[in-house]
């Protein structure tokens, strides 16, 4: 179980003598990912998804708030003490090309964490080889043909599988997949998504999925939760299918409206929400963060910031004063 409360992260642009610019990447985010559970972060570019993911994986520090892993609060610990906790959370990077060391064979890549593991648990050396083969099989690769290869001899999809296998060597409790399929060929994407889902089911690993492609979020499991993030704030949160089918926050709605419609297969939603384009957001820190772009904004939105809440008749949490269901997503023609 990994939970976070009020996580804040501010980047200070360094290298300037005067007038350091601050980027508020996260403005107090709460999250909770149960053991074996799944969650997806979606949102447009720069909203802070990666930052949050990296904080969860222990690769980045945070300024305020608290991250708690299996009941242990991280902020009280020294970096060395945090390490074993964060090892339970493994990150799968977006770019499978840089995630593997080009100078090391897959065997060497897997061997290092496994031998560490063997040493810690007192397992024999033979276990290392067995386990290496095992994790490769788990991710759907043939150990015999893959182990001796260098990364450049593998395709993107295979590499991403190796990356996942490598994460599995330390028996993680959670995988953080940051845009894990966006650089993989269209025809293969689904394979990776299915793998993640499969791992969840078989190994009980929880999965945190970071993406800007809402549709893929569905594929980590229907019990998953969806976090819609806008400018460092969670604006809507709920079960994946609920949020997709009945979004209430205008931002979520505009995200969903923006998904291209497969004409011929689908029927566009009737009430698409087209937001104003963000031209200069940095100054609108008052009120609702989305207000300036929101087609439905009211006076209240300019002055006051809505917090994540549950309101009557809305099953999911949202941060909007005027939550309203709109029919924004495309439906398959067959359904109509």
């Amino acid at each position: 179980m990994i939970t976070g409360t009020g996580v804040v992260k501010t980047y200070k642009q360094r290298g300037k003598m005067l007038g350091a610019r601050e980027v508020r990447a996260l403005r107090g985010v709460d999250f909770a990912i149960p053991k074996g559970g799944a969650a997806s972060f979606i949102g447009e570019s720069g909203c802070g998804k990666t930052t949050l993911g990296r904080i969860i994986a222990g690769l980045e520090t945070y300024d305020e708030g608290e991250v708690v892993i299996d009941g242990v609060a991280m902020s009280g610990l020294k970096p060395k003490e945090r390490q074993p906790h964060f090892r339970k959370i493994q990150m799968i990077h977006q770019d499978p090309y840089s995630a593997l060391n080009p100078t090391r064979t897959i065997h060497q890549t897997l061997h290092a964490p496994l031998s560490l593991r063997a040493r810690q648990t007192g397992r024999p050396r033979s276990w290392i080889e067995e386990r290496a083969a095992e994790v490769l099989s788990l991710v759907g690769l043939d150990p015999g043909s893959v182990l001796a290869r260098y990364p450049h001899q593998l395709s993107g999809g295979m590499r991403q599988r190796v990356v996942i296998a490598r994460a599995l060597t330390v028996d993680p409790e959670m995988l953080v997949a940051d845009e894990a399929v966006s650089m993989i060929d269209v025809s293969l994407r689904l394979g990776i998504l299915a793998l993640l889902k499969d791992l969840r089911e078989r190994l009980g690993v929880s999965v945190l999925f970071i993406t800007h492609d809402v549709a893929t979020a569905r594929y980590i499991g229907d019990d998953g939760e969806l976090y819609v993030i806008y400018r460092g704030q969670v604006v809507e949160r709920g079960a994946v299918d609920t949020v997709i089918a009945d979004p209430v926050h205008p931002y979520t709605q505009s995200l969903l409206s923006a998904i291209p419609v497969l004409h011929g297969l689908e029927q566009p939603g009737e009430q698409p929400v087209v937001p104003l384009e963000s031209l200069d957001e940095s100054r609108s820190d008052e009120g609702c963060l989305f207000a300036r772009r929101c087609p439905f904004r009211a006076d209240r939105c300019e002055g006051e910031r809505p917090l994540l809440q549950i309101t009557d008749g809305v099953p999911q949490e949202h941060a909007c004063f005027y939550p309203e269901r709109r029919n924004v997503i495309a439906r398959p023609l067959s359904e109509v």
Partner: protein, 321 residues
């Protein structure tokens, strides 16, 4: 625009290998055609060859690209070719974010473009550019005064479109116009493409690896695989009832917002690279569920079937059966 039997080869240590093989395609005036294909399928190479701009070590080894009012582009060279680019064919770059000179303002680059094409009325050109930018929802004057790094990705993409259209080109090629943009910006750009296309009566070619993008904007859809056009036809029809096993697989592999998750399925295997494209026979056979013996030796012809062309032995057999 008519592309006929176009073949483009790249010189590699293993000899000259075709990245685009025997592609024939007709772009109807006033239509938007979309080409989809995975990485390495030869989309960019095809797009570049429409301007006879394949970069060495590649070259067009066969075929022609006829453009109305211009003739065969493949035969053009030197000044003629240069003048055709920009004037007749506008090109919006893959990763248009980086298609601007970082050291010059957009306005200056616009003037350079005008001078290159002998535009006398530079003021008029600027006016036209501002108008175009305004139409795309930007403050023209400000944008023209900006350097590339002062513009966001979506703005740069719009500038790219503006530069492709400002000289009144009637054919526009857009290579991955929305890759690396986020969803909302992508939706906006696609909308602009559609609007501008309609307003100016352009002939547009959109190239992308994202079927959604094509589905959103294009009238006609062509699917590329391993340098070959495997299927083409009206978008709705192709999407609604794909014939080629690859097209079918591709559509099946798209994660969908609604519907049964388990219906979606990845294609087995992996897309070929230049070196791994089969030299003879069907390019898709390695991953094909309908593979037959004939696929190993004979490259399927693109066969016209009603409004579409499909290049597949299995489909042809079925049709004739």
């Amino acid at each position: 625009m008519r592309i006929d039997g176009l073949t483009v080869v790249y010189k590699t240590p293993a000899g000259e290998l075709p990245a685009v093989r025997d592609v024939s395609l007709t772009l109807e005036p006033g239509s938007i055609t979309g080409i989809v294909g995975e990485s390495g399928s030869g989309k960019s190479t095809l797009a570049l060859s429409l301007l006879n701009a394949v970069q060495p070590p590649g070259r067009i080894s066969a075929g022609s690209v006829e453009i109305d009012g211009l003739g065969d582009v493949v035969g053009l060279g030197g000044e003629q070719l240069r003048k055709a680019r920009g004037r007749h064919i506008g090109y919006v770059f893959q990763a248009a974010q980086n298609s601007l000179n970082p050291l010059k303002t957009v306005g200056k680059q616009l003037l350079d473009l005008g001078r290159s094409h002998g535009v006398d009325d530079l003021r008029g050109l600027v006016r036209e550019a501002k108008e175009l930018l305004g139409r795309m929802g930007l403050d023209g004057a400000r944008v023209l005064d900006s350097h590339q790094h002062e513009l966001s990705g979506g703005m740069r993409q719009r500038v790219g479109i503006m530069l492709a259209l400002v000289l009144n080109a009637h054919v526009v090629v857009l290579d991955e116009p929305t890759t690396a943009l986020d969803m909302i910006t992508q939706a906006n750009i696609l909308k602009i493409v559609r609007e501008v296309h309609a307003e100016r009566g352009l002939t547009t070619l959109v190239i992308t690896h994202d079927i959604g993008v094509v589905a959103e904007v294009a009238d006609r859809l062509a699917v590329m695989y391993g340098g070959r056009l495997v299927e083409q036809g009206p978008t709705r029809e192709v999407l609604g009832s794909p014939r080629h096993p690859y097209t079918r697989g591709l559509i099946k592999a798209i994660p969908r917002l609604v519907g049964d998750i388990d219906e979606a399925r990845a294609l087995p295997g992996r897309p070929p690279t230049l070196a791994t494209v089969p030299k003879q026979g069907c390019v898709f056979r390695e991953r094909c569920a309908l593979r037959m013996d004939v696929c190993d030796d004979v490259d399927p012809e693109a066969v016209l079937q009603g409004t579409r062309t499909v290049a597949c032995h299995a489909v042809t057999v079925k049709e004739h059966a």
